[in-house]
């Protein structure tokens, strides 16, 4: 009875109930309604728009025929009837005659005849179609009806004028409507265009935004990457610095250890005068085998020095220049070690100081020099100058001198020498550095290179700057040992004067400087 599509519904009970209802219904009144029939639909009479023959005659062509059928027969013409009537009209037949034909049918006879005037036309139609006399009748009728026909034609022309006027107006209306429609279409197109443009702008905007976002993202990624790189680099450099520091510390420790080993048996400073020579001679012979330079090379250096530097007496005479400085800066008196001469060579400065009552320790690496000094009874130590300095306590030496040593050093070692000297000197302690003067072009270009162990000439300005940089004060430049006057040009002219300056000027110079800090002055702060 019903399709069981829902488990919630009790279909058996429902079907029983429906069955009972239908049973009750079957016992009652009539149950069969009339059957539905598609053909049984109300037929509606079509009414003509026109109501009179005069109105009908005012129409033309198809409209005339359709309205004539509706008015006379109450139905539209069949396609065949329409074609026949239009053929007649378009062939020149009189409208009244066509209407007469429509109204002459048997069907029209069954209709109530509304227009008796058409009966005359029907008679006329029959007469003009009679054989032989038909033509004559037509002519007579034409004559008889000429005037009314003329009136009809005039009326018709008048109607045509009115129709033309109405059509013109209708045409103008139509044009206006079409114009409106065209404008609306145009507006719609404009709207569409605007919409498309807006969409395009939106897309462009989106693109710009995406591009900006992408650019920002890229910049952020780049920044992050660079930051990571910088961090890694910093970490790496830190590790490197740490390693360097450790290595340096290890080297220093090694140096200290070596020095401690070498000085382990050194007697107290007061007794050193007697002991040091033999002590160092032992050291010198012990380390002779370890030095890279052979004893033969060291002998060559001694010979070179003897040949070019001058006699010990001459040198002592030159060194005497510095003695007044020792009086000016007497801090050496309070120091635990009064003076040290680094690279002491044959010991001329040591000899000179000894005569002045100052005990000076000579430091030299050359075994021949060490030996010569020992033989002269001077305090001498065969050691690397820098290592020796590094092993000294701070503020412990009153005077540190170095004659013609710094031009043998690589820049890094020179810097180290200055830093360590600044550290080791007592406040107020004096430093003397003497070196060939390259301002004398002969010295700078030729004589300097007589010593093959010289590294590079050091212009006074450089050394002066470095000394200042490492915190020394009271810095003075001493231009020394000019060429003998008799060898110079006679200064009769500016050219001779300049030539003397460049070629016969001081051959050496010295920088003297004092470690600040004595008598309330600030301690030097080596970088």
């Amino acid at each position: 009875m019903l399709i069981r599509n829902n488990p919630d519904i009790d279909f058996d009970r429902l079907s029983d109930s429906i069955r009972a209802r239908l049973k009750r219904y079957a016992q009652g009144e009539e149950q069969r309604p009339p059957e539905f029939d598609l053909s049984k639909r109300p037929v509606r009479r079509q009414a003509a728009v026109v109501g009179s023959l005069a109105e009908l005659l005012g129409l033309e062509d198809q409209e005339l025929v359709e309205q004539a059928y509706l008015l006379l027969l109450h139905r539209p013409p069949t396609p065949e009837e329409l074609a026949h009537c239009l053929g007649e009209l378009r062939g020149g037949e009189d409208k009244a005659q066509v209407l007469a034909w429509i109204s002459s049918s048997a069907e029209a006879d069954r209709q109530r005849e509304p227009f008796r005037q058409l009966r005359g036309n029907r008679l006329k139609r029959r007469l003009v179609r009679l054989p032989l006399i038909g033509g004559m009748v037509a002519t007579l009728l034409t004559w008889a009806l000429a005037y009314p026909y003329r009136r009809y034609v005039n009326a018709h022309l008048n109607q045509l004028y009115r129709l033309t006027r109405d059509h013109k107006a209708a045409f103008a209306d139509g044009l206006a409507q079409q114009g409106t429609a065209l404008r609306e279409t145009q507006d719609a197109i404009e709207l569409d265009k605007a919409r498309e443009q807006a969409q395009a702008e939106q897309v462009a905007q989106q693109l710009t935004e995406q591009r900006a976002a992408f650019g920002q993202q890229l910049a952020e990624q780049r920044a992050t990457f660079e930051q990571q790189l910088a961090e890694q680099r910093a970490t790496f450099e830190q590790r490197l610095a740490e390693r360097d520091r450790k290595m340096q510390a290890m080297q220093q420790e090694t140096t200290l250890l070596k020095l401690r080993v070498s000085q382990a048996d050194r007697p107290p400073r007061a007794e050193s005068a007697a002991i040091i020579p033999s002590q160092f001679s032992t050291d010198a012979s012990a380390e002779a085998g370890q030095t890279p330079e052979s004893l033969a090379d060291e002998a060559l250096y001694i010979a070179l020095e003897a040949h070019f530097r001058g006699s010990p007496e001459a040198i002592e005479a030159r060194l005497a220049y510095y003695l007044p400085l020792l009086k000016e800066h007497a801090a050496w008196r309070q120091a635990s070690l009064a003076a040290a001469d680094i690279g002491c060579g044959r010991g001329e400065w040591l000899q000179l100081l000894r005569r002045e009552g100052i005990d000076c320790l000579g430091i030299d690496l050359n075994a021949h020099n060490v030996q010569a000094c020992q033989e002269a009874g001077l305090h001498i130590m065969k050691a690397d100058a820098l290592q020796w300095l590094a092993s000294q306590p701070a503020d412990s030496v009153g005077l540190i001198s170095s004659f013609h040593l710094i031009e043998h050093l690589e820049p890094e070692r020179l810097f180290l020498l200055l830093r360590e000297t600044a550290r080791v000197l007592v406040p107020g302690g004096l430093m003397i550095l003497e070196t060939p003067n390259p301002e004398n072009l002969v010295t700078g270009a030729t004589n300097f290179y007589i010593d093959p162990t010289h590294r590079r000439p050091l212009p006074p300005a450089l050394v002066e700057f470095l000394v200042d940089y490492y915190g020394f004060g009271a810095i003075r430049l001493h231009r020394l040992n000019p060429v003998a006057d008799q060898l110079a040009l006679q200064e009769g002219s500016e050219t001779a004067k300049r030539c003397n300056h460049y070629f016969y000027g001081p051959q050496d110079y010295a920088i003297t400087a004092v470690k600040p800090g004595a008598e309330g002055s600030a301690q030097p702060t080596p970088p």
Binding site: L14, I18, Y25
Partner: protein, 373 residues
């Protein structure tokens, strides 16, 4: 399948409030909800939809990953389908069989042509969507493969939170129950059976206040509509039946809100949207079980297997008099909506698109109807 796809829709004709057009809009909503770019293109666009639908000639097939082509009645735009190079999916809305139209009428012609096109275009489509099981079966019968049944038809939101308006000038008696039927007055809808059922119902009603029937719908077959009105006169139902013609949305909403039952006597329905709409408004449905109607209703409504107006009248009185039965029918109608909801359709549509696009890139092996529907 990943990323945003450009999945557009194309239809030969669109119309305001038309079932096919409503389905197209709903499908666009689903596609956009899945994150795809989706536009609607059509050859015929009513001015009121000009802002939402683009002209077919503006469709750029090079920028279309998948084109859903809606097909209902036949049309003369064959080139639209045959010349589009992008991958295409047929969305089949069903075609009323030609036998329901007068021979020689345009509907008769386009009904035949629509089915002929359906068979001819089979090779043009990579897959097909039947909007109802009935449609999918027809597609399978003519050799389509990779068919999914997805009823993407109903925009239920159009009824939500909107005002209704009582139709004025109709001869409705508020004391009498209101029965409703919505659809064009045309032979295959068989509204004459409803008049007959009303005639029986009037005689079965014990209290002398039988329901009134409102037959909403425009006329596409004037002869049938005239005969229907004449039949109502012959059955003396002039004061029991109302032919209001087409209704506005708010009038229709009022009718659904006040209806005690919904009748459907149709001989052929590809889907029949009003059956689901009645469920939305809590109106019990009584229908003859033809074509897709049982599938559309599911567990909802009372399905009468043979076209018996007497049975329909008796069953209707049961639904009017038995409150529990009435409640069960209303609940089933509401449950039925879930099958057509966005939440239910979205994953199925996504799965279908993944299958289709996946096979476009990986293999061309066709699937049978069972695997997708």
């Amino acid at each position: 399948m990943s990323g945003v796809l450009r999945i557009h829709q194309l239809a030969a004709a669109t119309a305001v409030g038309d079932g096919v057009t409503t389905g197209i809009f709903f499908t666009r909503k689903l596609l956009r909800a899945l994150g795809h770019d989706s536009e609607i293109y059509a050859c015929s666009i009513p001015p009121a939809l000009g802002a939402q639908i683009l002209p077919a000639q503006r469709l750029n097939q090079g920028q279309t990953d998948l084109l859903l082509i809606h097909h209902s009645m036949g049309h003369d735009h064959d080139h639209l389908i045959e010349r589009r190079g992008c991958p295409k999916v047929l969305v089949y809305h069903n075609i009323t069989p030609a036998e329901f139209f007068e021979r020689g009428s345009p509907n008769f012609h386009y009904s035949l042509k629509g089915r002929e096109q359906l068979a001819r275009w089979r090779e043009h489509f990579v897959a097909a969507i039947g909007l109802s099981p009935y449609n999918s079966e027809e597609l399978a019968a003519i050799g389509y493969q990779r068919i999914a049944t997805l009823p993407m038809l109903i925009e239920l939101e159009k009824f939500v939170a909107k005002a209704s308006r009582e139709p004025s000038g109709w001869t409705l008696d508020p004391r009498r129950p209101l029965l409703l039927s919505v659809g064009r007055l045309v032979e295959n809808k068989r509204q004459h059976l409803l008049l007959e059922a009303l005639w029986h119902l009037k005689r079965m009603s014990p209290d002398g206040r039988p329901p009134q029937l409102v037959l909403v719908g425009g006329t596409t077959s004037p002869d049938y509509a005239q005969a229907l009105q004449a039949y109502a006169e012959r059955l003396n139902l002039e004061r029991d039946v109302v032919f209001p013609g087409k209704c506005t949305d708010d009038e229709l909403r009022w009718l659904y809100e006040h209806a005690a039952g919904y009748w459907c006597a149709s001989a052929h329905e590809g889907f029949c949207m009003p059956l689901v709409e009645a469920g939305f408004f809590g109106v019990p449905v009584l229908a003859f079980a033809t074509s897709n109607i049982p599938a559309t209703l599911g567990e909802a409504g009372l399905l009468i297997p043979e076209p018996s107006p007497r049975l329909m009248a008796a069953a209707t009185l049961e639904t009017l008099e038995q409150a529990p039965l009435r409640e069960q029918l209303i609940a089933a109608g509401r449950r039925n909506l879930e099958r057509y909801s966005e939440a239910s359709l979205l994953p199925r549509l996504a799965e279908f698109l993944a299958e289709v696009m996946g096979s476009r890139t990986h293999s061309a092996k066709p699937h049978s109807i069972e695997t997708l529907s």
